[in-house]
Symmetry: C2
Subunit: 191 residues, 2 copies
């Protein structure tokens, strides 16, 4: 099976011949160079992405300063919150690496859900699971010290620290680059 999206789906639901044909037919792969901006603040977004390879950073501007909200990597879906709603986006999507994605649209989604209701079921179940996980990690995050947040990131997504520049990591953690630098120094000295 050389289709990444089918490979992903097969983890959760049986892939029928019919489903395989349909998905192969409609899958729409796009490649983006590092630095490509997929969505800008104020623009309407009608695409969502499933990352096959690479990293997409979402961030918004506050007082001219970039605030990173997420780093999306392999096997993750990127659904702009304004996706399909005709509401201008409040944030940016930027590829911080060369990135290969499957691209979806609201129309395509509707079509697939009609033909394959089990995929909508899957998305509901996955969505609920992701939401519960989000709530848990939000709770952890709220009470953690900045150092603990950094250590948690180091543990859960060690690759990110290699893939993204440190000041972006800092804004993702909700701290200033200077603080992150000091935290790293402190941890080094403790060892």
């Amino acid at each position: 099976m050389d289709n990444e999206i089918l490979k992903y789906l097969s983890k959760y639901i049986p892939i029928t011949k019919e489903l395989e044909e349909e998905i192969s037919k409609i899958e729409f792969i796009k490649c983006f160079d590092k630095g490509t901006v997929l969505l800008e603040e104020g623009k309407i977004s009608n695409e969502c992405y499933f990352i096959i390879k690479g990293c997409i950073r979402s961030f918004y501007l506050k007082d001219g300063e970039e605030r990173t909200t997420e780093f999306h990597t392999e096997e993750q879906a990127v659904v702009p919150s304004a996706y399909g709603s005709n509401v201008p986006s409040e944030y940016y999507l930027e590829c911080i690496e060369d990135t290969i994605t499957g691209v979806g649209t609201p129309e395509l989604e509707t079509e697939i859900y009609q033909k394959f209701p089990q995929i909508e079921s899957l998305n509901r179940a996955l969505g609920e699971a992701i939401m519960a996980k989000q709530q848990d990690s939000f709770a952890e995050f709220k009470m953690a010290s900045h150092e603990e947040k950094y250590l948690a990131l180091l543990k859960n997504r060690p690759d990110l620290l290699q893939r993204a520049p440190q000041h972006q990591i800092a804004s993702y953690l909700g701290i200033k680059p200077e603080s992150l630098s000091r935290i790293r120094k402190r941890i080094m000295n403790q060892k």
Copy 2:
């Protein structure tokens, strides 16, 4: 329409006679006194709740200290992250007011989804919308000062500050009760 759940559903999808009969038949209303613990750490949970009236607080224990993760109020669903999964819960659910809820189970859910796929579609769509909102507010929360977090809560959920004791609000904001007290004093003096 005297059924709160139907009233809620009718905001999003047309209520057919058949749907109305079915939901009325299966709806299971329970009332709980203030102080009732609906779920304890370590217990399996097989119920989810839709709050008609009241307030349910979810929290977990860390080093013997309660950490409030959410205050669920009217028209909100409370789905324990371990719901239907046979995994012991990591947190508690407690009614901090007399509370009236609709109660759901995984079996009931499956049954409803089979009979009324449009409800599963609705749940998927609502889930995605809630998730996007969660991500946005998480992003705001990360970069906000403690004072800004308090002011945001004051603005978005002013009722909570009347309904829950201050130390629970503090742990919900991720700060110590002493800090919240100081922040409130600071704000009062500024006015």
